[in-house]
Every structure is written in C-alpha cells, then in structure tokens.
Symmetry: C2
Subunit: 432 residues, 2 copies
C-alpha cells in the first residue's frame, strides 16, 4: 500500500510581456505563469503527478498559496484509493465546506482544486501506462458518470441522461480511436493575432499559418474599431476566402458596445466572436447573439464552473464554447461540461495557449470525440506556439492538427530545469 507523501508547489513565471506575446485588449502585458504542483508518493517506482494553474503574472503567488493549502487534503491518503475513485477524490476537495466559502466553486481556490485533481489524473495515467485521453475512453459509461458531480445540474442533465449519451457513443469507438491516431485532431491558431503585433507581423504570421496547414485563425480585437477593421481586412486578404477567421475581444465590451462593434466586423466573414463581454454575463451573451446573428458567439475560457456553462446552454447564449483545462474543477468538471455541450448540441472549441494549456486540453478534446460527442470535424482546438519546450511531453502538430499524445499521463510535467530557471523571483531569468 502506497501513500501520498508530498505536495510541492512552484511559482513559475515567463517574462512574455517583454515581446507582447499574448497581448490582447484586456491583457496588455501578460507574463505567462504557472502555479505548479507536484504530488509525490512512496511508491517504489517513484510515481508522481503534475498539475498547474495558468495565470498571467501578478497573483501567481496567491494561486501557489492556494495549492499549498490543499496539502492536508492529499498527503497521507492511500494512492490506490484515490486513483481508483477520482470522482470521490474530486468531491472531497470541492465539498470541503470551509474552503467552499472562498468561492463557491470559482476563482483562486477552485482553480487550485482543479490543478490538484488534474495532478491526480496525471498520476492515474502514469499508473495505468496510458495518456489521460485513453484512460478516459477506456472507462465504461458507468465509470465516467461516477466521476461527475451532478450537483446543480439535474434540471439540465441527469446521471441517466449522461449515461445515455455515453452509451450511444460506445458505437464506433474503435474506428474513432484509429482515425484520431492516424489523422490527429483539427487545430486553429491564434499565434498571428496578438494585439501588440504590428500589421506586418500579423500578415506574415497569418500567411505562415495557412502554409503550415491551418484552416482557421483567430485575431484579437476590441481596443479601437478602426484598428480592428484594418486588421480584419489585412488578415482576410492574407488568408484568402477559404480559411476561417475568428475574432476574440477578451471581455472588452459592454453589451450595447459589443453589438455595435461586431456589426462593423460582419463584412469580413467572422467564424465566431469570442468573449464579447464579461464571462459572467449569460443574459448579455444571449442578447448579443440575438442582435448580431448570424455571427456566431462564444465564450468559456473564463467560465468558472459547470453551473455557468449549463446556463449558457439553457439561455441559448452561445453558438459554440471554449473549455479550459485549468480553470474549472479539473478533468471531472470538464467531463460534466462536455456532456452538457453534447446534450445541448453545442460545439466545443477548447481554449489553449498560455503555459501548458495545449498540452492538457488536447486530452479532453480527444476524449470528447471518442467517448462523448463523437464529433471532431466540426470543431477546432486552439493552438498557440508558446512555451511548449518547457514540457517533457509537448504537443505535436502536423499539418494543422494535434497528434494524439502517447506518453502515459496528462502531458503536464515541466522540465525540472524550467521550474528552476523561471521560479519567481529567485530563478535565473528573474534575478537578472
């Protein structure tokens, strides 16, 4: 019998603000960061699990403190008991009544809980010798339902309905696995479109993206309408008529402003308009969507839990949603969100980029295709070419598609040298 013996944390920050990578209308000078957690055990094999919360700089210390506050919830527990009941483990963290007061189920504490849950999934994948997407799809529908906290969902999705969706997706599973392994999962890229980039850089990177095989790109908007019109024109003429062009306002607008602004961008054939307003404003998204139809509306990377996603679907507020691997309560809550999306027939375009978000979320998108929605060709997984070199099992992109990860675990582990070099404020990069 092995036990959890440690929960170590690292405050890791990359000085991305120096090049304006990742700059958008709300986040002008992010330093992409990870509040990183490593769970260790006394397994003779050295079994460990890795997870993190992505942040953009200041406050990464608070996020790291929240991870450390979970130490007593993990250390001393039996490894097999936790990994054989990841639903129970997740609930034991989310339902701690005292910690719950700090949300409930939102913000710093919920993200920390999600990272520890994800680290347990990383460990479970390693123990099973499988990448996490494969670990999920090899589970029975009953096992998957058991992972999910249906609290506050049953007016929209019951366990019985979830089971029906999962059972229906059993058919054709082997073919989908083979298809995924052969062709990968379709991606889109945001790399050309950061708001801090010059027009010349936007055009050059947009052309490079198309040459590299991407059929969809996204650019940031929302600071000045004249700039947005010009940038959309430039992007559209760089990529041609057959490549999809999405825009992302990163929550910049009020509802009336979003409606007026998006009407100016309609001529450029917008594939979707992402985060037009506050992620909390479900009714606002519904109003914007109704007013600017047929421009598809989306949100989700900051949507803080399954209850908010449920309402986005109930209110018909979105045409598609982003999910984020490191904002909600880990794999478990994302499975609930994917099941809700399948129930309501809403397409999922996972959020990635940042630090390691591509590495994590690819597992969820692939599990969704194989075992939940059974759909892949009508959705795209975000790709940003940042900071992958710091991960032991970085994403592999070929001709605009993510290749399925093969290494056991959640692709979450960073190189020890990276943890050390970018440690804030003592690492070599920050001491300069």
């Amino acid at each position: 019998m092995a036990a959890f013996t440690g929960l170590e944390t690292y405050d890791v920050r990359f000085p991305t603000s120096r090049e304006l990578d990742g700059s958008d209308a709300m986040n002008r000078d992010p330093d992409y960061s990870a509040a990183y957690v490593r769970l260790s055990t006394d397994e003779p094999s050295g079994l460990a699990g890795h997870g993190f919360v992505f942040t953009i700089g200041r406050g990464n210390d608070v996020q790291t403190a929240a991870l450390a506050a979970l130490r007593d919830h993990v250390v001393g527990r039996d490894v097999d008991a936790v990994l054989d009941d990841l639903g129970g483990f997740a609930r034991s963290l989310v339902d701690d009544s005292q910690l719950r007061w700090l949300g409930p189920e939102k913000g710093v504490m919920h993200m920390a809980i999600g990272a520890v849950i994800n680290a347990a999934w990383d460990m479970a994948g390693r123990r099973a010798g499988k990448p996490v997407w494969r670990l999920i799809v090899d589970m029975s529908p009953e096992q998957i339902v058991d992972l999910i906290d249906f609290r506050y969902l049953t007016d929209a999705l019951t366990p019985a309905e979830a089971l029906r969706i999962l059972r229906a997706a059993q058919s054709g599973k082997a073919e989908r696995i083979a298809n995924l392994l052969e062709h990968g999962y379709p991606a889109y890229t945001t790399s050309p479109g950061w708001l801090g980039y010059s027009d010349e850089k936007l055009v050059r990177l947009a052309r490079e993206a198309v040459s590299a095989g991407f059929d969809t790109i996204k650019i940031k908007v929302g600071l000045r309408i004249e700039d947005d019109v010009r940038r959309c024109e430039l992007a559209r003429s760089a990529i041609g008529a057959d490549v999809a062009l999405a825009v992302d306002a990163n929550q910049r607008w009020d509802v009336p402003e979003a409606i007026a602004w998006l009407q100016h961008l309609q001529p450029f054939g917008i594939a979707w308009a992402e985060e037009p307003t506050s992620p909390d404003d479900i009714l606002g998204h519904a109003a914007i969507r109704a007013a600017v139809a047929p421009i598809p509306i989306s949100t989700g990377e900051h949507t803080h839990n399954r209850i908010m996603f449920k309402q986005l679907f109930q209110a018909q507020a979105v045409d598609l949603v982003q999910i984020d691997s490191a904002r909600v309560g880990g794999v478990n809550e994302n499975l609930a969100i994917l099941l809700l999306a399948a129930k309501f027939g809403v397409r999922v375009f996972p959020h990635a980029g940042g630090v390691g978000l591509c590495e994590l979320v690819q597992h969820l998108a692939m599990a969704d295709y194989i075992a939940i929605s059974t759909r892949m060709d009508d959705r795209r997984l975000e790709f940003v070419d940042h900071l992958h070199e710091h991960f032991r099992d970085p994403v592999r992109i070929r001709a605009g598609r993510y290749l399925a990860p093969q290494a056991p675990g959640f692709s979450a582990e960073m190189h020890p040298q990276s943890l050390q070099r970018y440690q804030f404020p003592t690492g070599a990069v920050w001491r300069k």
Copy 2:
C-alpha cells in the same frame, strides 16, 4: 503630503465550530474567521484603515496571502489622492489585468480587493470624522456616480440613470437622516435558527428574539425535510402568527429539489426562502421562483459581483436580495448593486453575521435608505449576536433595530488583543 506606509495582514480565526454556532446545511462546522488587513500611513495623527474578508476557517491563510499580494498596489501612494478618488482607487485594483485573470472579479482575489477598498473607506471616514454611512450620504449624486464602475452594467443601468435615482433621493434626505438617528434601522435575527441547535434551544431563542423586539426571524433548513417541517412548526408556534419567519437553505438544493422541498414548507407562511440553490444559478432561481410562487425567493450573500446581481434582476429571479459587505469589490461595487436594486425595484435585506459583517453592512443599508432607495420599513437587516465584542465600535441593537453608528470610519477595527489572541495558529486560543 502623507503616504501609505504599510499593509499588514492577520489570519484571525474563532473556534465557533465547538458550539455549532453558525451551522447550516452546507456549513456544518464553521470556524468564523477574518482575513484582516490594516493600512497604515505616515500621517502624524496615525491615520489608518481597517478591513477584512469573512471566511469560515480553512483557506483563511490563502485569503490572507491575497491581501498581502496587494501591498505594492497601496504602499507608497499618496493618502489624499487615494481618499479623494475612491472610485479611481477601486478601479486601479479591480482592473489590474494580471490579477484580473484570477477571477475575473470573483473569489479569493476579488474579496481581497474588496477588503482593501473597504479599508480605504474606513480611513476616509476617519479622516472626515464621519461614519461611512454619513460620508456616503454627504456626497453629491455626481460624486457617488463617480465611485462606480459601470463596466458590464450599461445594458441595465447607465450613469445617467444612476444619477436620476440619486437626484430623486435628494428630496427628504434630512428627514430620513433624522428618522434613522432617532429610530434606527429595522433588523431581523438568525440567532435562533442554526441547524446544529436542539429543538429546545430553537424554541427558547425564537421566543427570546420576539421578546427582544424582533418582528422577523430566520431559520436554517435543507438537511432533512421532516426536520425542517418540525422546526418550522416549532418556530411558528413559538413566535406566533404576527412575526415573519424566513428560511435559509444555504445552497443545499438542485432546482427540482428546491421546488419540491419548498412546497412542503409553504403552510408555515414563509417570508422568504434564501439561497435555495447555487448562487451562480440565475436561471435556476428564476425557475424556482416561478414554480413556488407566492413564496418569495432570495439570494445574494455569495453573489460574487454586480454583473451577477444585474442578471438576477433582469431574469426576475428574486423577490429580494441579500448584499454582503465583504464578498464583492467593496463599498463601490455595493453602491452599484444598491442602485441596480433601486432601478429594478427589488428590496434589499443585507446579509450579516459572521465576523464583523453586521458592523460593516449597517453602513450600506443606512446609506441606501437615505441616499438611494429611500426605503427602510419594507426591508430588514440581518442580525446575529456573535463576536461583536471583538470590535472597537460594535453594532448597537435596540428593540429589534440597529442604531446608526456614530464613530468615524467603517466600524471595521478589531481590538488588538483579539487580533493577537485569535491569530491562527499561534494565538493563545489555538495553541491550547
């Protein structure tokens, strides 16, 4: 010219779980706690400001770390520049793009920002020699509008509309101040109704509440329906037909469960049913309200920002709302919420109890009566008789009403001995 010179934090916890004070269906064994912050200056008078976030135990260290993370946002700033522009100060904290990622505007980081904003208000009251309620009502409508961040509100409330509400409330202000000073603000009490109390204690405390002059009491429900029916019967017969009886489920139910459960309690004449489900579930509250009418539905103590309150009103999801002094972005965001409530004609029954929440929120309720809604007799301010002895300027209750605080500031300061004795984990109470 004086400057801010320090931001000190204290992790203060009271071992309330030992007596089951504060126990409810979701929070079975809370240790009422405060992540406490003191802003200091180099003013020769020793001018300082006090604020805090209320939590219920574990995680109070994370909340305290979030306060400490704001030190660089405060220390070194000019005192008069901050206190003369509390709107600008609040925005400078809320709009820090890197910290914003940790919410946005929710959870640990937003509560910390709210506590620091409240501490600045405490300081502004002291500097002016006025209690905060008086500081607010002595401002012009234009000054109050300038305090508010209208971002994400303008589809429901514009600055011009807010100005109209505030200008209309100028009439009769002197009479309302006199009325408040003479009679105080009506309260209700939750002291009898904690779920961990025996039937005998419930009945005894309910009778005592009526004898003390309260015309409204609230009891906790949501664990077992048979217990709730029995406790409602006992409470109703203890207080008689003329005293109002509210129930509070503390987010215990899913939507269908709330509807079924509340129908069982209808015979007892429920004044309102509070927090029937997740505070995030705006559409869920609307569904419950429609199904159990005429039982009034309310929520708000966990509603994390003005955008969520806006939607509760837009969706006609509530009959009345709780506001909380220490969950949203300080006085400024609460003024936005009070203006929204006035615009939509929704009554406000402020949440109090915990550690110091009565002390803070009384100022907001009184400012609302005098300068915003102009209403007092159709609302009640929660009172719980806990832990007031730790505050320098504790609330004063007479015949079921809060007397207006007179001391300069926000009534937020705790006795230094209390900060020391209850400091976690080194204070005398925790070392035992």
